[in-house]
């Protein structure tokens, strides 16, 4: 066991992939000599060489699209978009080929690839470096969307995504890259994609979140217990596609009250799908309307004013108290 940051844990998963499968290739902008702008690919070029860790021209569409061709040729590409805000250049290839190739060719060709990209606000970056648009990807049939929240699950989920026979959009909460350390096993570890984790058990209300928002959510849970004597259950989804409705339902049926938290804008955001699922399956167990703590339906303000626009402890505590007092 080693105490690692998420950045180091992701690096470990990438290194394992390159070691274990000679068909694995990392491609992206500045992933080689520069070791990635967030240093996620640190040391990999040196160890595996230019054929396996490929510095790419500034061409996101080609990064994604040529990764499709690599899959067809039998390779397992791991593509990096430098920031999710630039991933939209690659959107067309994801929608037109990555997510459809298996269906179009009835399984003759598939896309066992991972597209990694850092998302989310809170790092005082310039415009286009702070948004959360996971709902866009989660809407595409044929694409899995995985979002880790800490070092250990980041490593295990990235490994699982790389081994997955289908394409995975791997959204990395960049505010959490170096925010804290966790024990990460030395031996390779995987987690099943599509299984949520109950990271805190409780009986009074359920808070559902994922990714960067897990930090304020867990802090809020502590505060609710200490200051308000409220015992909340917290679910870390870890994956939006597939969505673990079983775990959500079990918790809702126990607590009857729910808050869903994410940075992404509210309209047609992941919370809308999560709550629709709760209504379909467990409506009669609900004791109160479900609350959403999300980004507003706005572009996240430039960094000087971004924090109040993001989910925080105060908003989560307040929403939870609201569902409890209904």
């Amino acid at each position: 066991m080693a105490m690692l940051t998420m950045a180091k844990a992701l690096n470990l998963a990438l290194k394992e992939a390159l070691q274990e499968d000679e068909k694995s290739i990392i491609l992206g902008q500045d992933v080689g000599y520069d070791e990635g702008v967030f240093r996620i690919t640190e040391g990999l070029l040196k160890e595996f060489g230019e054929q396996r860790v490929v510095d790419f021209p500034v061409a996101e569409s080609a990064i994604v699209g040529m990764a499709v061709g690599l899959c067809i040729a039998g390779y397992r590409p791991i593509a990096e978009m430098q920031f999710s805000g630039f991933g939209y250049h690659g959107f067309h290839q994801v929608e037109s080929h990555v997510s459809r190739l298996r269906n179009r060719t009835r399984g003759r060709f598939t896309c066992p690839m991972v597209i990694r990209m850092p998302y989310g606000g809170g790092i005082r970056a310039i415009e286009h470096h702070s948004e959360s648009r996971e709902a866009i990807w989660a809407h595409l049939p044929g694409l899995k969307v995985v979002i880790p929240s800490g070092p250990r699950n980041a490593r295990a989920l990235l490994r699982a995504s790389i081994l997955d026979p289908d394409p995975v959009m791997f959204y990395e909460p960049k505010a959490s890259y170096r925010a804290f350390r966790e024990e990460v096993p030395d031996e390779p570890e995987t987690m099943e994609i599509g299984k949520a984790q109950v990271v805190r058990e409780g009986n009074d209300a359920t808070i559902i979140s994922y990714g960067a928002s897990m930090r304020p959510v867990l802090e809020a849970a502590e505060e609710l217990e200490e200051d308000h004597n409220v015992d909340v259950e917290v679910i870390d989804l870890l994956s939006l596609v597939p969505l673990d409705r079983e775990t959500i339902n079990a918790s809702i049926r126990k607590t009857g009250r729910c808050v869903v938290v994410h940075e992404a804008p509210r309209h047609c955001g992941p919370a809308a799908e999560i709550i629709a699922g709760i209504v379909e399956d467990s409506m009669l167990y609900l004791e109160a309307p479900v609350e959403r703590v999300t980004g507003y339906d706005l572009v996240l303000p430039f960094f000087n004013n971004e924090l109040p626009y993001m989910p925080d402890v105060k908003k989560v505590v307040s929403a939870t108290r609201k569902v409890l007092s209904f």
Binding site: S61, M66, G69, A73, Q93, H97, N103, T105, P242, D244
Partner: protein, 376 residues
């Protein structure tokens, strides 16, 4: 000197071997056996008759919208002929001549236009991609395949098609640029058929030729008469040889003409004149190759007649095969992911219940996925 001409490594040439009157430039004529000439002519004729039949099927409401390739047979077949089975064939959507040559079962192509995914499923033995609809997006996976071939260390190439309209797309720039940067074994054929639906070539790009774009990317490029199958074969052979020996990608501009409609939903009278079309009809690739074939003594009117009959029978058989194909209506649920997600299992059950309660279109028990073998 502060200001002087920059000499580029490459230059751009145009190539024509068999002209519209059937005259041949003997110095440039590619070596072809009589058997090869015969099968090339058959391939062009097959594509032409297939195209005509598809138009009729569309008018009869037996397939969906159809995008004919009338007049572009040489630009598609010539390059396909110049590669081997081990090479990859990455079409756009106006390459039936090349696809049939490669070994796509004709019934599958008919099923594509008839609205069935089996038509987009390349038979296992073919290193082929299916028809690609989003213009120019196929350049990217073509380049990715070429990259994989290069990493494998084998000598195969990826032959990728795009149209003149496609050269304006960002994907064209990104894919062609990266193919050149990574020195990939790729041959890009631009079927310049002069029209991107209603937009003429001169409004597509201010470049005098499409071939010259290769210069900017630092790769080889050539303009070939796309209605001259000999020129297309010669240009592709040269490009393929270069790619196999590590010389990188080549951009071939095939100057041709879309004699027909963009698709059956299009009316070209709105944007181009009959005189223009007529002038290009005189440059028909099939007519001029027919002269060549006769000059070589490979075929005559009588033996052509026999070939026509054989082709007509082949097409009719394919029509019948495609029209008796029954897709498994539940199949899409099986091909979204390798393992169905819980959400899809639930939706599949919902859909199945709908079908069992009368549904609207077919029954879940109508056919099985083994239907794939029907159209081999």
């Amino acid at each position: 000197m502060p200001r002087k001409k920059i000499e580029l490594r490459n230059t751009i040439e145009s190539l024509s071997i068999l002209d519209a009157d059937g005259k041949v430039d003997k110095k440039l004529e590619p070596k072809l056996s009589n058997d090869e000439i015969l099968s090339l002519f058959r391939g062009m004729l097959l594509a032409r008759r297939y195209d005509e039949r598809m138009l009729r099927l569309q008018r009869q409401g037996r397939i969906g919208t159809y995008g004919p390739a009338l007049g572009q047979e040489a630009a598609s077949l010539g390059p396909a002929f110049a590669i081997t089975k081990d090479d990859w064939f990455v079409p756009s959507f106006r390459e039936p001549a090349g696809m049939l040559w490669r070994g796509w079962p004709m019934a599958r192509l008919m099923l594509w236009w008839g609205g069935n995914e089996i038509g987009a499923t390349p038979p296992e033995e073919l290193n082929d991609m299916p028809i690609c609809v989003p213009v120019s997006s196929q350049i990217q996976y073509g380049a990715g395949i070429a990259w994989g071939l290069k990493l494998d260390g084998n000598k195969s190439v990826a032959l990728t098609f795009v149209g003149d309209g496609g050269t304006s797309e960002g994907d064209f720039h990104e894919g062609v640029n990266c193919a050149a940067v990574f020195n990939l074994p790729m041959v890009i054929v631009v079927q310049n058929n002069q029209w991107a639906i209603s937009l003429p070539r001169r409004k597509q790009t201010a470049s005098e030729t499409i071939a010259q774009k290769a210069l900017a990317y630092g790769m080889n490029g050539i303009q070939a008469d796309g209605n001259d199958i000999l020129a297309m074969i010669a240009a592709t052979r040269e490009a393929v040889d270069r790619a196999r020996s590590g010389g990188g990608p080549t951009l071939i501009e095939a100057v041709t003409y879309r004699l027909g409609v963009h698709t059956t939903a299009d009316d070209p009278k709105k944007y181009r004149t009959e005189e223009e079309v007529e002038a290009w009809r005189c440059k028909d690739p099939l007519d001029r190759f027919w002269k060549y074939v006769q000059d070589k003594g490979v075929l005559n009117e009588k033996s052509r007649e026999a070939m026509e009959e054989e082709i007509a029978a082949e097409i009719s058989a394919a029509v019948e095969k495609s029209e008796t194909y029954q897709a498994d209506i539940m199949e899409p649920f099986d091909h979204c992911f390798e393992t169905m997600t819980p959400a899809l299992k639930r939706q599949r059950a919902e859909f199945e219940a709908y079908l069992l309660n009368g549904g609207s279109n077919g029954s879940p028990h109508a056919a099985s996925s083994s239907a794939i073998s029907q159209v081999h």
